[in-house]
């Protein structure tokens, strides 16, 4: 099969591990020029070097915190120096802390919404203008099955991910005229470091609710992101695609 993202410039937030890392590797393998974002410069550099060995100089890293509007502004100014073009933005960065509602601090609420929801708006403000210059693009927002159906102990995280779905739908309508597609992915139970904090009991209980009988992999999510980034999805916008092995059926 031909490479699906040749000549596409792609920014991936939260790229240094888990789902973001899988998306970065998949997109680079498909011919994209990849801009890796994360907070930890050393792990970003390590991934950049790893991918450069496989795919050449089409990989760059940009360390900034997407939950901070000022840093996003500086990050996009740095991106603008590297490229005047952006075809795909993957808003993958996010944090998850399980807490019963009575034990959530105000600071945790602020930080979770800043990292998971506000960041999507901050980055989209700049990315959409870069995309519009070049006739369109694709924004892919990482939601969660918890944002769709809820989960005990995840009111803050679930709320922040439900917000991502709302942002996705409104942005899709607002940006469609400039040929920018905006979609979300709602992963189910994916085998990442983020889910390691769940107790064994909770993990087993969750596994039993998956019709396909296994956890998802970061690659399962990356493959869906690849579809949404590619021209195969050129008439798809405003959608939330579940990648959950049948948890919701």
């Amino acid at each position: 099969m031909n490479q699906m993202l040749v000549d596409k410039h792609v920014l991936i937030t939260g790229a240094s591990r888990g789902i973001g890392r899988a998306i970065a590797a998949t997109f680079a393998a498909q011919g994209a020029t990849v801009y890796l974002n994360g907070r930890d410069e050393s792990s970003l550099k390590a991934l950049e070097n790893e991918l450069k060995q496989l795919y050449g100089d089409r990989v760059h890293s940009l360390a900034f915190d997407v939950s901070d509007a000022k840093q996003v502004k500086q990050g996009f100014q740095a991106l603008f120096k590297l490229t005047k073009t952006l075809d795909v933005l993957v808003n993958n960065a996010g944090i998850l802390e399980h807490s019963l509602v009575g034990m959530v601090s105000a600071e945790q609420i602020q930080q979770t919404f800043a990292s998971n929801s506000f960041s999507v708006i901050y980055t989209s403000q700049y990315a959409s203008r870069l995309m519009a210059r070049n006739g369109g693009g694709s924004i892919i927002n990482m939601a969660s099955i918890i944002g769709c159906v809820g989960s005990s102990g995840d009111s803050v995280y679930g709320g922040s991910k439900a917000a991502v779905i709302g942002i996705t739908k409104s942005l899709a309508k607002e940006l469609a005229a400039t040929q920018i597609r905006v979609n979300a992915i709602a992963p189910g139970f994916i085998d990442t470091q983020m889910n390691e904090s769940l107790s064994v009991d909770k993990q087993n209980q969750t596994l039993q609710s998956i019709a396909m009988g296994r956890k998802g992999t970061p690659q399962d999510v990356a493959n869906t992101a690849l579809f949404l980034a590619s021209d195969l999805a050129q008439y798809v916008t405003g959608q939330t695609i579940g990648v959950d092995g049948g948890m919701l059926i």
């Binding site: 996009f76 100014q77 210059r133």
Partner: protein
């Protein structure tokens, strides 16, 4: 700053006559300069002057005079 280029950006984005583009012209003071046209204006300015404006500056760009001041920051 190339004033003629700036005026052309306003003419093109707002679809108005160049004679209307004076320092006094303000955002939302004419039907043609609404929020949708404002974003088109920003796109024109960014493309023509090869800059990327901060969100705060886009919100703050409330007149032609203000647009000149803001753009000058990026072109220094």
């Amino acid at each position: 700053m190339n004033q003629e280029k700036l005026i052309q950006c306003f003419v093109s984005a707002l679809a108005i006559d160049g004679a209307l583009v004076t320092d006094e012209l303000k955002y939302n003071s004419i039907p043609q300069w609404d929020s949708t046209a404002h974003m088109m204006l920003v796109a024109e300015l960014e493309a023509e002057f090869d800059v990327m404006l901060d969100t705060d500056d886009i919100i703050d760009m409330s007149s032609v005079a203000k647009a000149k001041t803001i753009l000058a920051k990026y072109l220094d």
